[in-house]
């Protein structure tokens, strides 16, 4: 730091310290919270690329977005999911409460298993999606992308024997994804981890504490999520990175996550859906049916929030439905409008996320499209820039049924060596 001496001279001249050098951080309130893994992550964030998630400092990327993405598909990487909201829901009424809250049937969930779910308003509009971990009988962990304390209070209304505690700041969580993850966990001594099935949970002793490992993730690939008491975070990080060194372990951020999840066909809040409770305009939010999550709605349950409205929506059919499409050429169709005809006269939908998929070598997108137009021609009007010059093209789209990338290893137990 060559600037130091001159700074010192400067501070000697003036009686009041310049703000940056004040012993009291006058900007403390502006700064974000840091996760238990922050110290290590900050050292590896060579691009100083930070964003915020639920008040936490959180990396967009560390080194290079494509590199981090390819680590997920080729080697292994960690993604800090500490900022994801985690609630411990306990008591004899916990199951009934969750069952009334979410659209999926929680009765079917066995101890040691995880399920993906969503919850809606009485109007059947989606509030958020998340996962429920059945830790024991009458003991659950619910995760969600956004804070849900207020909604949980409403959801628990009328149930006497249930408590919910926000554990977000107490638990450090890393999503550990990629084909080499099982090998690394084996090397760390988590014996039997290779027998863990998708959506299963296991516990292991770690650093005088217990680590919970679930075979879950947001990449559509082989992967696990690691849950540990916050103050054991660095110990976990160091052990994981030591074991992973020979397997190319790399932290990855939001940008790489977003690529992997799009290939897997997963949705993101404020990309695919607007959280209903925060939406100003009526029907700018979505129903599960519109988002292709109809399979999460279990009408066999006698009652849950939004049931009546969703039943009606199912009968009527959604106005738009989230659809996977492949688009000719290689210009990502970001924010494109979709048309029935090449002349772009009849608008039938819009693209929510789009990218060039390095692994399938295809131009892919998720789009909201009116169902009645799904079987015919679909054209995207793509705007892009070429060396500053704005350009546009009309490209043909093809509807795809399955996720764009589904490696067999994601479902195999035990997972293959590579």
């Amino acid at each position: 730091m060559t600037t130091k001496p001159s700074m010192k001279a400067f501070t000697e001249q003036v009686t009041e310290l310049p703000p940056g050098l004040s012993p009291v951080d006058n900007y403390a309130g502006e700064r974000l919270m840091t996760s238990p893994f922050h110290e290590r992550q900050a050292a590896l964030n060579l691009r100083d690329s930070w964003e915020a998630w639920n008040g936490y400092k959180f990396a967009n990327h560390y080194y290079d977005v494509e590199y981090e993405y390819i680590c997920i598909r080729n080697l292994c990487g960690t993604y800090d999911i500490t900022p994801m909201q985690k609630y411990l829901i306990e008591g004899p009424d916990a199951e009934a409460m969750l069952n009334r809250m979410v659209t999926r049937d929680v009765n079917k969930l066995k101890v040691g298993r995880v399920t993906y779910c969503c919850w809606c308003t009485d109007e059947g509009r989606m509030i958020d999606d998340g996962t429920i971990f059945k830790l024991d009988e009458g003991r659950y962990m619910l995760t969600s992308g956004s804070p849900s304390n207020a909604w949980l209070r409403m959801a628990a209304f009328g149930f006497e024997n249930v408590t919910y505690v926000d554990k977000t700041d107490d638990i450090g969580a890393l999503s550990f994804q990629g084909p080499m993850t099982c090998e690394v966990l084996k090397k760390m001594g988590f014996e039997g981890i290779d027998t863990l099935k998708p959506f299963g949970i296991m516990h292991f002793p770690f650093a005088g504490d217990t680590i919970m490992i679930s075979r879950t993730g947001f990449t559509g690939d082989l992967g696990y999520e690691l849950w540990i008491t916050a103050d054991k975070g660095l110990e976990l990080w160091d052990a994981l990175y030591e074991a992973g060194a020979d397997y190319g372990i790399q932290p990855y951020g939001e940008a790489a996550t977003s690529m992997a999840r799009l290939e897997a066909g997963f949705i993101l809040p404020y990309v695919e859906f607007a959280e209903s409770l925060k939406t100003v305009h009526f029907k700018h939010d979505q129903t599960p049916f519109e988002l292709g999550l109809g399979w999460l709605v279990d009408f066999k349950k006698p009652h849950f929030s939004g049931r009546a409205a969703l039943l009606e929506e199912k009968k009527r059919g959604p106005g738009y439905v989230l659809t996977k499409i492949e688009i000719e050429g290689n210009k990502p169709a970001e924010e494109s409008h979709l048309y029935r005809d090449k002349a772009c006269r009849k608008e039938i939908g819009w693209v929510t996320s789009a990218m060039w998929s390095p692994v399938v070598k295809s131009n892919i997108a998720l789009a909201m499209i009116q169902p009645k137009y799904l079987s015919g021609d679909i054209w995207a009007e793509i705007s892009y820039k070429k060396e500053m010059k704005p350009r546009w093209k009309i490209a043909k789209c093809t509807v795809v049924d399955k996720p764009f990338y589904t490696p067999a290893r994601a479902k195999a137990t035990p997972p293959p060596k590579f």
Partner: protein
């Protein structure tokens, strides 16, 4: 015995691509391969326990991504992984590192020459402009400039238009490119000898030209025109080694009902009344087919597996004079750890990518002088990469293998034929040079495989070990490849075609030759063309 619609000689990646497209179009296809493995020069072989060498080609950037997508090669197990962070080594041990992000990359060159750091962006823009043009021709059949067929005229017009759009000045520049040397070309940009040398090396890879030889500028372009997901000039690895590309193509071929027969070297192409009838294998078996496609290089095709009497006059001579001089060697080394290179920080990004052991411009030219004399240089240019640092499937965890490509290595030695002793002595110069930049390197060696042009020719059947199946000089490019008048994959005997790298657009793992040949065959059979157009980056 079964009669096939088409027999393809050679299961190189182009033969497999050709077969896959013919099978996809409904033809009954058989690929016959002399080796007991497929892939030709795009192959992964386990030469020692748990280490999989990409024995010949080792990096990938020319592979047509539209073919990857169209033949579902991802589903057939192919995944391409870009690699980053190459280190170049100079004469005095100085280094130049290629950082991934723009800022650090600029600072690194500026450390050596402020002028050259600024000039680098102009070079990159120029190379991208020129390569955009060539890329447009890759998945197209070259027009015959002497023909008046509508298709040829249309193609000529396409070429003329594409080139004309560059503007007059750029057009002259471009024409100069085909006749200039790599060193002269770079003289226009840089002042620093080491930087010039580092940027010139793609101009000599695989070619029997020197950095000062006219024509090497084009070779440079040929090596930077590829891309990984649109990052032009970037190179990637195939997960599982280069053989993963051939294996995925074989998967696509078999998915469409095509067959592959290994250990089935072809002795002769059968010709009757100037028309092919099938092939005779080395074991004497006769296999009949309507069509025969050769994946072998032009010289081998016409002088080794055909009878001169079956050919129209002049072809044998043309094939015999086809420029296919071997000039490269390959040393594959299994290592018990990552080598520590002097002057290179040991971190996950920079000590793991490629290495270019260069020296300077003079080192490169001296190495070429040795080649001309039929010797190998004691200070060769080595281009290396450690695939296992990126690909967990090709070496046991914590261990590595290093691919070393050596320019130059003569196919014929001045002092008599290659012997195992001479081969090993050549290999020794390679590990000696690496050891100079990575003390302790030799102690890491677990196994090594030294390949001179002699081994490459014997194993893969590349005449003289020429990696491109024929020199990439203007007299053998585009409508001159392999010979003028025969650039459209049809050969002088009826129903015979060529699909290997001896045809347009030439060497490299691209699948383009095989796909283009398939298109011509389908046209002749009056079948719908199922070979896709290339992805365009220029719209």
């Amino acid at each position: 015995m079964k009669h096939y619609d088409a027999i393809i000689i050679g299961a190189g990646h182009n033969g497999l691509t050709n077969g896959a497209y013919l099978a996809k179009a409904g033809l009954d296809v058989l690929v016959v391969e002399k080796n007991d493995y497929i892939g030709g020069a795009a192959v992964s072989r386990e030469m020692t326990d748990g280490y999989w060498y990409s024995s010949c080609s080792y990096v990938c950037s020319m592979m047509r991504q539209v073919i990857h997508r169209d033949l579902n090669l991802t589903r057939h197990g192919l995944m391409l992984v870009p690699y980053l962070g190459t280190a170049a080594f100079g004469k005095q041990g100085e280094t130049m590192l290629s950082y991934t992000a723009e800022g650090p990359a600029y600072n690194e060159i500026r450390r050596i020459s402020q002028h050259d750091a600024d000039a680098m962006s102009r070079l990159m823009a120029d190379l991208e402009r020129y390569s955009t043009l060539i890329r447009k021709t890759l998945l197209r059949t070259p027009p015959d400039p002497t023909s008046f067929k509508p298709r040829d005229i249309m193609e000529l017009l396409f070429l003329a238009k594409t080139f004309w759009e560059m503007g007059e000045e750029q057009l002259y520049e471009y024409i100069r490119f085909f006749t200039m040397s790599a060193a002269e070309f770079l003289e226009d940009y840089f002042e620093n000898d080491f930087i010039k040398a580092a940027m010139a090396t793609p101009g000599i890879i695989g070619t029997a030209l020197g950095i000062y030889s006219p024509g090497s500028a084009y070779i440079l372009l040929h090596h930077v025109m590829g891309d990984v997901d649109g990052n032009i000039g970037a190179w990637g690895l195939a997960r599982g080694g280069m053989g993963a590309i051939s294996n995925a193509l074989a998967g696509a071929l078999q998915e469409h009902g095509g067959e592959i027969k290994t250990k089935a070297g072809v002795d002769q192409i059968m010709v009757k009344d100037s028309k092919v009838k099938g092939v005779v294998l080395e074991n004497g078996d006769e296999l009949t087919s309507d069509i025969v496609v050769s994946n072998l290089d032009a010289k081998r095709t016409f002088t080794k597996v055909m009878d001169q009497k079956d050919l129209p006059p002049g072809i044998y001579e043309k094939a015999n004079n086809f420029k296919i001089r071997g000039s490269s060697g390959k040393v594959n080394i299994a290592l018990s750890g990552v080598p520590k290179f002097t002057g290179v920080p040991d971190n996950r990004y920079i000590n793991r990518g490629g290495q270019a052991f260069i020296g300077g411009l003079e080192t490169l030219e001296r190495a070429y002088d040795c080649w001309k004399r039929g010797e190998w240089s004691s200070d060769p240019f080595i281009e290396s990469v450690i695939p296992s640092a990126w690909d967990p499937t090709v070496a046991p965890a914590g261990n590595h293998w290093m691919s070393n490509f050596i320019q130059y290595c003569p196919p014929k030695l001045a002092d008599g034929p290659w012997t195992p002793e001479k081969r090993d002595a050549f290999g020794q110069t390679v590990i000696d040079k690496i050891e100079r930049h990575a003390p302790g390197f030799k102690d890491l060696i677990v196994h090594m495989e030294v390949r001179t042009p002699h081994e490459i020719e014997n194993e893969v059947g590349l005449t003289e070990g020429n990696i491109f199946q024929g020199e990439l000089t203007i007299d053998q490019l585009l409508f001159n490849r392999p010979f003028p008048g025969y650039a459209q994959y049809r050969m002088p005997v009826k129903n015979m075609y060529m699909c290997g790298s001896s045809t347009h657009p030439g060497g490299g793992v691209s699948s383009a030759c095989g796909a283009n040949a398939a298109r011509e065959i389908l046209i002749d059979l009056k079948k719908p063309n199922t070979v896709p157009e290339d992805d365009c980056y220029d719209d």
